[in-house]
Amino acid sequence: GKHVEILDAKTREKLCFLDKVEPHATIAEIKNLFTKTHPQWYPARQSLRLDPKGKSLKDEDVLQKLPVGTTATLYFRDLGAQISWVTVFLTEYAGPLFIYLLFYFRVPFIYGHKYDFTSSRHTVVHLACICHSFHYVKRLLETLFVHRFSHGTMPLRNIFKNCTYYWGFAAWMAYYINHPLYTPPTYGAQQVKLALAIFVICQLGNFSIHMALRDLRPAGSKTRKIPYPTKNPFTWLFLLVSCPNYTYEVGSWIGFAIMTQCLPVALFSLVGFTQMTIWAKGKHRSYLKEFRDYPPLRMPIIPFLL
């Protein structure tokens, strides 16, 4: 067997010495052994690396495949309290669903008392509520049944950041759309119909991409493959972009903005677009790095442009 010593990456203090570790043990197993001596550092918050300033080793890495001698020296960094991705997603999506409805039903203390529990006389306001609610119900269901997460956890502080963003914007948008003084779109029913079409197409598109990505990765695995178009026409966007799920998502919100003709919705779309572009570029870059034969025509998020 091998020996494993774990040192603190910052102070170089010897934290743990494991003797007689199986050479084919994985980092995940070593993390579990480390937790036994330091129970406050559960495996999800451990970052183990060969070099104090280097990259984290992956859970699947095998001890004997690492460039170490009979005694492996691993450096430990505490990633801080962790929370599961599923928990974060469920919380950040349940909020907007619920909050929007508070405004839609004109719960007391939001608008003047004479408006309490009244209903808007504009059809588009009811339609907007259906669309917004549908969007977040879809996200919740996808989180529970569709998505396969490659990471189990993220830092705890993310949940506060993310929820502030989603819940805050949801409240801001919902306030104006459901306001007694709401002004319906300038071009009336035509505008709403067009916007609804965009919204529905993009929701279907986004869902199709999520399903295609799920089918790309078998349950429980962390393998990565190049996504390709399938028989579903919505997935043909893969020919032109790396992250069509983001493309469709932006499209949905643009549709919603046109439908409601509400500036805060447009601003939310813009901020979301900015963030998703950053993510898409990152994903695109890692695809290019990992796969020599990555289709050259593809752009990260907007066909031919971005």
Partner: protein, 254 residues
């Protein structure tokens, strides 16, 4: 805040001064610095800014001597103040293109808060231009900027007199609170006039289904000073200990 933030942005440069910015990536100190062309440009930039704020300082003194009072001196330095403070927007560009190793976000925040006070408060609300609080922050900014820009100039030329370094990391102790007070009092003075004129505000109903209350916004800005100012202030105090004691140790070994 604008005063505090700008001084706290110990934005690094070729010669390397203390860095108070949050953008310091620990463990990856690329002491490459800007190339010769960028350095020359930055030296010119910092010299011009030092000169500009000196013009403002001189303008204040002359106006004071001419008028015999310190009231309403804003008008005598209004134009150079607007020009040179707005010009500082270039510093955001410097970070963005990488010739200054500071965080774009932090620098933007700092410069924008100054620009906001100059244009969105003092310029926009004419009635506050005669307030003494304006003089308070203008003096704080002027002294701070003269020291800061000369600090950068000397750092870039790799010849930083200890006096300038000392001044930069010491005078803030008085100048920060002074500037913050001036800024807060000015915003507070502007409030009734903003309310009265409905300045920069839009109310429902309108076709973009949006509303904005500048009065409420200004109050939020004032409240934001409460968490932000102490953080920046104590960060600079911490930097001061680091930078000035480091120099002491160097002196010992000489």
């Amino acid at each position: 805040m604008a005063a505090a933030a700008a001084t706290a942005a110990a934005k690094g440069n070729g010669g390397g001064g203390g860095r108070a910015g949050a953008g310091d990536a620990s463990g990856t100190r690329k002491k490459k610095g800007p190339g010769p062309l960028a350095t020359a440009y930055l030296v010119i930039y910092n010299v011009v800014m030092t000169a500009g704020w000196l013009v403002i300082a001189v303008g204040l003194v002359r106006a004071y001597l001419a008028k015999g009072s310190y009231h309403s001196l804003y008008y005598s330095i209004e134009k150079p103040l607007k020009f040179f403070q707005t010009g500082a927007l270039l510093e955001v560009l410097h970070c963005a293109i990488g010739i200054v190793p500071s965080s774009v976000v932090l620098t933007s925040f700092q410069v924008m808060s100054r620009v906001f006070l100059i244009w969105a408060v003092t310029h926009s609300v004419k009635e506050v231009q005669t307030e003494d609080s304006v003089l308070l922050f203008v003096i704080a900014w002027t002294i701070t900027e003269i020291i800061r820009y000369s600090f950068y100039t000397f750092s870039l030329l790799n010849h930083l007199p200890y006096l300038i370094k000392w001044a930069r990391y010491t005078l803030f102790i008085v100048l920060y609170p002074m500037g913050v007070s001036g800024e807060l009092l000015t915003i507070y003075a502007a409030l009734p006039f903003v309310r009265q004129a409905g300045l920069y505000s839009i109310s429902l109903p309108n076709k973009y289904n949006f509303s904005f209350d500048y009065y409420a916004f200004l109050i939020l800005i004032m409240i934001s000073y409460i968490p932000l100012f102490p953080q920046l202030y104590f960060h600079m105090i911490h930097q001061r200990r680091k930078v000035l004691s480091h120099t002491e140790e160097h002196k010992k070994f000489e």
